[in-house]
Symmetry: D2
Subunit: 478 residues, 4 copies
């Protein structure tokens, strides 16, 4: 709606009062115009009202919202439940078309705009936080794992004869399942253990390329963000191999958009080598509900291969979440969260060290991991290593989520492949440990509360252990 | 919240007034209890208020909504934008876990409940409309095509040596792309042409099984709901082949849950043969926004294979849409829509016949298609066959969406496979035609408006054609 | 926001798709333009989305919603709670100014528009349903009683020497309190009893005018809508008196806008005599939450006196409710409710007669009451008249609200005035009765359910009574 | 709804996951219990979700929300428009009954609870910020002026022979109209001028009491919060008169709840004398939309007189706004706003002084006004006093609202009473001035922006004036 084309009678409102109100609209209208014409993230976040006005206007461009619509097809974006329509701002057509996530829909100009505008804003964000070479990206309304699968599938179309995926081990089920789902053959490259931290075994990558043969290898597959003490893979070195042998390189950057160090690593790896796709979770990086991932590339032309591998039309709900979130944050709002995360990581690390030292534990030095931290539980566990797992549930019971206890001896088979000491990203784990992470959005208050609770749980376990020992001693003496 | 444990002082409200209010709550509480304990679709639809109360309560069971939460992980379902949180009722954790869509999440009891309750209600719905043998089903937050891909991928895990998918031709891109995405090899089984309608070539299926060998065939892949004049595949006969040769059978039932005839066909096919999975779109059948599909099976044990092929955690937004929609409709509300669709299909067919006859056209007799109808455009097109395509855009411009004009000679290559006369599900199409569908949710008013507009467009094209002929004649005479 | 001034790049959406969407906006824009320029109720109701778009746009014209606002006053419409702001669509400034409900606010062009547009639409509605002579009206965000007080106060400014208000008795507390609140002196004119129904005693009005003297009388005060068996006052005859003696005439038309007969009576009374103000409840007539009344007049010039008697700025929330409701109903939607109410009244009366006859009761013939009905409870009560009151609470306990039981002997004193048989609008009531009403919005289903419940309660009381008599007889016999 | 009475099957969610979720509900349930049982403002604000859960639960206790309701009355809280119902959380019955704002409604236990709980929380707030002697209060859904009228009307019922209201002059229309609306006779007590500030003329009050006679005086009527340079009335001294002569004392405390000084003054005045009612605006003090006022008293028994003077049932919407706002702020949230206001007032005053000094103006020393400030415009105006009014609109045009320019010579007649120099609270104003206020919710950023804009406007006017003088000089010289 637009008041300026309406001759509002003086009887309704005095014209000088009205003019003030109309003048105030103009800056808003300018912000809409700029957003749509320049497709850049606004500097400052928008108000809820402004965001909703844009979203409503976009939705009104879709045919299911035309007042005079006549639907004679099998899919007309009819929505039976008013509450559902309302929560989707009357968007119903989804995004993409005929098996291509990036295609426009004739029935749904608004949904098309929504999807493409969102992708443009994400690109602007990615470039702004330290990846100026990023050439393009788009949101896929599937999880990171499935999106990695989609990338592998699209690579297979390019390299139909290749069947191996060289994968630097990381113990997260869906990263691995992303390979097995495609029917391709995973080749696990174990990490190098340095101290207690884990690094990419670049030499082994090279050896495998030679031994398996370049043509039989679909791609090299690395991971940045991960649980300590595993470090972010050395993607610069792997990128060099990728460039040298002309083998595609796929990076699982699950929650790496939130860390300056990883962002820099990606930009640098592209300069010295080759990355075909880097894939990241929307929810973990952009603070939206679970449900989508972002495929990005330094080479725009290869992106479309991935988009056209999605067989159908997809949910637009995730694009809407990301669009609304980015507009509400603005460039400054995201930057603030980004910087605070970095500071909170340092705060967490420092406090974890202070916690560890007097208790005879250490914070493992995984210097190439700037999100997650691991503290050993050697003294606490003693020789009752398995019993230490209850620390995790004790923390959980008290409201701490996300802290994980890793103990030796947890083997696991996934789709026929056995992983020793699953969870630790390595075989032959000796010392149990606990990991915690400073994810984007974490508050200093949460960190403080965590140490309170951690301390209480620690003491409780410690005391129990000592009592057991004492009673054992007593029994022995008698 | 629960008033009954609260001693509301008389100063706030007289007790006898309060008791009346509390009594009214009890029937509501009973409906919640029944829903959760019995997991059946309520007979009558619920009010918006009741639906939202349930949804809010479920969300409050997720850890991101605990008042005392302390998040130390990399994924804590933090939601940055209030508007986004609000439209998701504060759900953030998605569904599934560790690469299994059906697994429970320790951090998210509410999301787990949401997903499983939704699946239970869908199952109850499917059984109630004519598929009592259905053993289980679940919602996948991806489109139908990608869900078919997921099924194929999970079948490959069972039959790693097989590489062919025998597919009864249907000209919808994503159905075909669902195969090529997996890297499997599609074997196209052209339809039999009978009159102008198209039927499954069961004999050719049999021949191909013999010629390619059972072990090399991953599955038989058929489609029910489709555009006329293609008929629903003869899934009963294909099921028999499937049973006889022990080859899996996958059915693309995209919008088949809305048609009694197709539902009966499925139930029957299972009795006489074998169907491993039948997959349907949520948006097309259940009137929710685009974004999810339902995998169902007559054999519960094989369902989990599909769920565990999804590599990651998935969006819960689609489960929420379906849950809210089913609760708002109730069993009776859905049944009403279901029955009305049947009546409206008859109404549309009858009126299409009345429209066709005086114009020298026919409604093609595709008797095994109970959703879509095709009317020939032979006389209208005359020898200007290609020009008839503009009829489609004329209709679209006037608000009619979903009507499609098919003309001969539209060849298309998808992922390396060429399809002659793409769109017509056959080669060597002679007569152009228009298809329209009576999808669930269509109204009689829409059908009437369609014929108004169709008539006007027809006359306009017809007149233009005659004028061209006249002027041609005139030129000739001169 | 207005897309037409924005050059949306082809990269975001193909222009031909966009144009279709934009074309669909134009009919909407036309509806906004027409509403604001013509200030007439739309023929058909608007969709929720359209209503909210208008409301949001109006709110954005208020200074508290300017992006660049700087508030240095004591009242800046700051809203602390987001939820509150949201439910008021960010309206905060209320309506009116400096003690005049109709004045525009320099700070709030949108609120001013909201209030005046609402008044214009109400006027259009009132004229359309049978009061074409109505010259003006406005919404007062106070209850009907307080609005009547406001009218009396404004009349006093015109007639400072007058102190009597001649009031045709109606036993509703707030009608009477509306007089005593002002400090004026009520002169009660008892009704004439005809059969069991009650009519205006016009002769007594005339006598009182003569005996008290014209100048000492502030106004004549009548009531239309009321509980049976009281009839609507004979406002035509009272209007003649008003005209003849030049004494203002105030009509309490609480829920009279919903009845054709009352509307006609008002229009007719104005033709033959004089009505200064007629006041009606918004909630009872327009189905909004309790909270406002409408002052209307056949003489626009006197309306402003009332508006300028309101000492301050008032809530705009009620105007918003009425505006949204009228737009959602449209002229046709209200007309439908209006007509259905008439039919449901006939249905209720007929069924009440069928209920009464076999039980030896009658439906009192109050033919000038077309909303409420009274059925005698003579046989049911027998000589246990007081005990019949429990019938009311029995109905209430079973979900029936609004049915009232009136028994003789309930005297009451209000602000120093004693009313015998309060509730019956008369003294010396003999026969107890029950009243029910067919208000606007009632459904046939409710009426049917009422008779089910009424029947059960009746039988229960009847049986108890008989058992008492029997046991009494038995005792006597023994 | 209450999960604890439901046996949620393990199939839906593992019990240990569910138990964590349920445990998290308990603290929420405790907060509800405590609120309703103790009726005290929570220490910390509640989340939106918690507030809405309470509000929905309250609404579900009203009969219009019973699933089995059968409405046979003339007022059944039917709501025609879904959007309206939604924004009122399905509350429809309003508050109060039969002409008494404090009475419970049998049909609406929830609305009754809503109203009374809100009143209880307001009382707790008032006591907590420095008025521990406050005995009771309630919200009236009318503006402050009309609520003052209501108080006067209820006082008249107690003192029917009295007709004068002794009123310390304040130039705000609705304060005065509050008297004239009642038909009582205002006796204006001009302020004492001390420097340029204005103080209560207590002696004149005393004289008037003597000259008019105690019995003829309905009440003394003072005002606390007001525009500088008028000071808050000396309510302590007036209270002493009130006590001494046993004449009621009514205090207009429009926006006085936000200032520590005024709150202390009220508490003290009650100790040394008598205040019957003090009335304050909800929107100005509690940051809700315009529409209600709060009547408070140190004597609970006299409050009911006011409540029972409201002739009808009133809107509950304002109670809802206040309830939601208070719960969202909590005691601490309000305290923070309250303290910040005080600091911002000091900041504004300091900056105003810095602004005034170099320009040859002064900030008038109205030390008993702790909200509003006045700066003289003597030098700016020069001898073009009237032209200075444009400063106001210049500020307004630039987004500054609430700053008022007062110039000599603006006489005004209200309801027959003439006020010289209206706006200045005095006759014979010499020096023009500008007032600004630091209301609750003002931000430091706003104050800074104000001085930017003020400075620019000042310079512009100053320059124009100088240019005029120069050109005048030039003309003269020539």
């Amino acid at each position: 709606m637009n008041f300026e084309q309406v001759n509002i009678p003086e009887k309704l409102v005095p014209d000088n009062y009205l003019q003030l109100g109309l003048a105030a609209q103009r800056s808003k209208q300018r912000s809409f115009k700029e957003l749509l014409e320049k497709r850049k993230l606004p500097k400052n976040g928008w108000s809820d009202e402004r965001i909703e006005e844009l979203v409503h206007m976009l939705a009104s461009l879709d045919s299911n919202n035309y007042p005079h619509k006549v639907g004679l097809g099998e899919r007309e974006a009819r929505i039976a439940c008013k509450l559902v329509a309302r929560r989707h701002y009357n968007f119903g057509h989804g995004i993409g078309r005929s098996g291509d996530l990036l295609e426009a829909q004739p029935k749904a100009a608004g949904s098309t705009l929504l999807a493409r505008l969102t992708n443009a804003l994400i690109l602007d964000l990615i470039r702004g936080i330290g990846l100026p070479s990023c050439a393009g990206c788009f949101l896929v309304p599937m999880c990171t794992g499935m999106t990695l699968t989609l990338c592998l599938q699209s690579l297979r179309k390019r390299r139909p004869g290749a069947r191996y995926v060289l994968w630097s081990r990381i113990d997260q089920k869906s990263c691995f399942k992303a390979i097995t789902a495609t029917g391709l053959v995973p080749v696990v490259i174990p990490c190098l253990i340095k101290g207690e931290s884990l690094n990419t075994n670049v030499d082994l990558f090279r050896e495998k390329i030679k031994s398996l043969g370049v043509d039989s290898i679909l791609c090299l597959y690395t991971t940045t963000s991960c649980f300590a003490p595993r470090n972010s893979d050395d993607i610069a070195e792997v990128s060099k191999l990728s460039k040298q042998w002309q083998i595609p390189h796929l990076v699982n950057n699950a929650y790496g958009l939130q860390a300056k160090e990883i962002v820099n690593q990606l930009e640098c790896a592209n300069r010295v080598g080759r990355i075909d796709y880097f894939v990241q979770s929307s929810d973990k990086n952009l603070l939206v509900p679970v449900g989508s991932a972002i495929v990005a590339s330094f080479n725009e032309s290869v992106l479309h291969d991935v988009a056209s591998t999605y067989a159908g039309r997809a949910s637009g709900s995730q694009s809407l979440d990301v669009l609304m979130t980015l507009l509400s944050l603005g460039r400054n709002g995201f930057r603030l969260l980004f910087d605070q995360r970095g500071e909170n990581f340092n705060y967490l690390r420092e406090n974890l060290r202070k916690f560890a030292e007097p208790r005879g534990e250490i914070v493992i030095d995984s210097r190439f991991n700037s999100i997650s931290l691991a503290i050993t539980l050697a003294t606490l566990a003693g020789d009752q290593m398995k019993s230490i797992t209850k620390l995790g549930s004790m923390l959980h019971m008290r409201g701490v989520s996300g802290a994980r206890v890793i103990v030796p001896g947890q083997n696991k088979t996934i789709d026929g492949h056995e992983f020793l000491d699953f969870g630790s990203h390595r075989s032959n784990l000796q010392v149990p440990y606990l990991t915690v992470a400073a994810g984007i959005g974490i508050t200093r208050e949460e960190i403080d509360k965590f140490f309170d609770i951690f301390n209480k749980c620690w003491n409780q376990i410690f005391q129990t252990k000592n009592e057991k020992i004492m009673s054992l001693l007593e029994t022995t003496i008698k």
